[in-house]
Subunit: 204 residues, 2 copies
């Protein structure tokens, strides 16, 4: 299913997303969604570049993005994948208004809806239920990262790969192996071998 052009795309998914945590009712969700502007990001384009301040709170309707940082040796390290249905922004840069250490780049053509920091704050001020929703987004992201860190410590590379395969198969279909490798904390060589099959530790 190809993404619709921006002109025809409707905020239905955004409205559903706003309601998804049971904090916002339909009427409120429709009003809040009306504040968002449509936005498209073509494959390989950047939503945010390192060194700039993240100022877009972007709900992703269709497509796939990744976040990546540059390590001390100058290598790309993928720090997150964002499948559709999520909010995409760099938390620290966005809220503290400081230059981002990360990049946000489209892995496929993307469309979605976004508001600026100023708009978001105005909405948080005017609508306590949206404020709660915003906190919920933050808390959920925090919990997801913690769980990934725990897996990094306790699970083997093979297990981490299988978890990703299970939880986000679309990532594996659109992201090149080298990005997935840095995300999982292994080299692309090792990931290729993991994929090949039986080499990993037995686990059944």
């Amino acid at each position: 299913m190809p993404p619709p052009s921006i002109a025809q795309h409707s905020p239905d998914k955004l409205v559903l997303f706003l309601q998804s945590r049971g904090l916002i009712n339909t009427a409120q969700a429709v009003e809040i969604a009306a504040q968002f502007s449509p936005k498209a990001v073509a494959r390989h384009e950047f939503l945010l570049r390192e060194g700039r301040v993240s100022d877009e709170y972007f709900f992703l309707d269709y497509g796939l993005l990744r976040a990546f940082a540059t390590d001390p040796d100058g290598n790309d390290v993928t720090t997150a994948f964002y499948p559709s249905g999520q909010v995409v922004f760099e938390v620290s840069s966005f809220f503290t208004r400081t230059p981002s250490q990360e990049n946000l780049q489209a892995l496929t053509d993307c469309t979605g809806w976004c508001i600026t920091f100023a708009q978001l704050n105005a909405l948080f001020h005017a609508r306590p239920e949206f404020r709660e929703f915003g906190r919920s987004v933050l808390v959920q992201g925090f919990a997801a990262l913690k769980s990934r860190m725990l897996a990094m410590i306790t699970a083997s590379a093979t297990e981490r790969y299988e978890q990703l395969l299970k939880s986000s198969p679309e990532v594996l279909r659109h992201a090149p192996l080298k990005h997935i490798a840095t995300y999982l904390g292994v080299t692309d060589t090792s990931l290729s071998r993991i994929r090949a099959g039986g080499k990993g530790p037995a686990h059944d």
Copy 2:
């Protein structure tokens, strides 16, 4: 310097902490701090046990705590250390009112100040500047975890150990090696060898 008994301990550090992000002025900080109750946790005691809902937003005045989870094989994994001057609580459990997957345990005798979830929410409602402060605490925690994840991917065990040594030497003085090892994502055997010296990768 032994911690003062609760009876005599004053909220000075808490007041300073509330002002530390430039979002709250002195008068407001004093009023907010007045809502907190003194609390002590003896060495080895738990501030939170896995399976219960975190309901204390605890500012740590003196002492050192750790968070730990139990992995699928039944092993303790230390997920965080909390030196004094920080807020200690389990974000996900606290804000979503769900059972915690983690424990919070005192590594030394601790004293500090705490409020409940209900009190915190009332303060967030009544005081926008404290709300901002609360968000700032969350965002900072998020950024710290991200940076730790990046180190887990890009840095060797030796480098991660040295980073911890540099950023939180007090942890190494009070936490047993096995806790530090799981926190760093290595076995206690390996950490012992890292400490021993020259075995690690050269880096100067």
